[in-house]
Symmetry: C2
């Protein structure tokens, strides 16, 4: 099945949205926890968290224009300077999915969606108690993406809490042991099974892929 | 297991790298295909492709500083203005992983890693014949991320080719039917199983999560 740019533009809007939201491949499911300056907590599912660097630990996430339901997340981060990223697991994927209902600012998605606020490490923003990977970040900067009015928020990692059994001595994290879920499009969730682990790729350990009958 | 920023900084470098490269959650495995102005093809695995928008279809990807092995990808995109994004499937995940060996510019990762160049739709950059989702993009802009010297390359989707059986009439793509793989860290690959599909989240279809015995 081939779609050119023109064919994509002529598709029904929902079909185009479904296709283009899926073609980047599997996306991580994360809940972003924030609090307003007057103490109202907020939780929103994002599938656009991306690794930017390890020293210091930096993560980015893409924000749509201001009319989006995630505007409370943005406003809270701008007000307080802090937010949390919490992995979504299968046991609460449905709860996490429904944080994207357009709630009012004084309604907490934690309460409406049956998830539990956790305030840990004297960190100002709420973590999701149910999540096995909780990350506390300090907002660093917003980089605007003028071509379509989106922006990337960049945060520095101040805290990581990981379920003990899922991390080994070398720091390898096994996402399948935590029942972490991936997303494609806007509403399809996948569980993960670890299938391969390859060494750091060097010329000295390169398999001979040119042999036909490997 | 809790790590503060200071504890992360004091960890062994490899362990810190492994942890921070995994905490964003599952990442998509994609191969970026390019060609230099004098016709040398290049292929590089990226786990940082991110959806930016659907109309027009825009995808971003994060590039490390220039000394990275992916510099040939960057140089080729700057020279020609075009590149391809190709989903990695389990059947060639090892081949894809080894594209990150530091090859010379006149060595093609297609040949060294046993993958097949496909030139389709009169598009200037090479697709990966083995891949069931092939995307042809036109480079639009580079957005620099000064805080750690990385940048985001943004491209507009000009072509999408998808394995017929994996896309339905509504445009939903089932990544598990294509044996698409996700990555965590730098070297752990996961297969996907579709577990849930939820409706567009509205107040009218919000489950009552406040009931304890749902």
């Amino acid at each position: 099945m081939h779609y050119s740019k023109e064919e994509l533009q002529n598709l029904d809007k929902v079909k185009r949205l479904n296709i283009i939201n899926s073609v980047s491949g599997v996306k991580p499911a994360n809940l972003i926890g924030t609090i307003s300056s007057d103490g109202a907590t907020n939780l929103a599912i994002f599938s656009s968290v991306v690794h930017l660097g390890s020293n210091p630990g930096l993560l980015g996430m893409i924000l749509r224009p201001a009319q989006d339901v995630r505007r409370h997340t943005y406003e809270n981060i701008m007000e307080t300077g802090y937010y949390t990223i919490n992995h979504v697991q299968r046991s609460f994927a449905e709860n996490a999915h429904f944080t994207s209902v357009k709630f009012e600012k004084d309604e907490s998605e934690f309460e409406k969606c049956g998830l539990t606020e956790a305030f840990l490490f004297d960190f100002p923003a709420p973590f999701v108690a149910e999540s096995q990977v909780k990350i506390g970040l300090k907002f660093l900067e917003e980089i605007s993406i003028p071509v379509n009015g989106t922006s990337m928020l960049i945060g520095e990692i101040l805290h990581i809490e990981i379920f003990d059994n899922a991390i080994n001595d070398l720091g390898y994290i096994d996402l399948s042991l935590m029942d972490h879920v991936g997303v494609s499009g806007l509403n399809t969730y996948y569980s993960l099974s670890k299938v391969d682990s390859f060494p750091y790729a060097r010329r000295s350990n390169l398999p001979d892929f040119t042999k036909k009958d490997r």
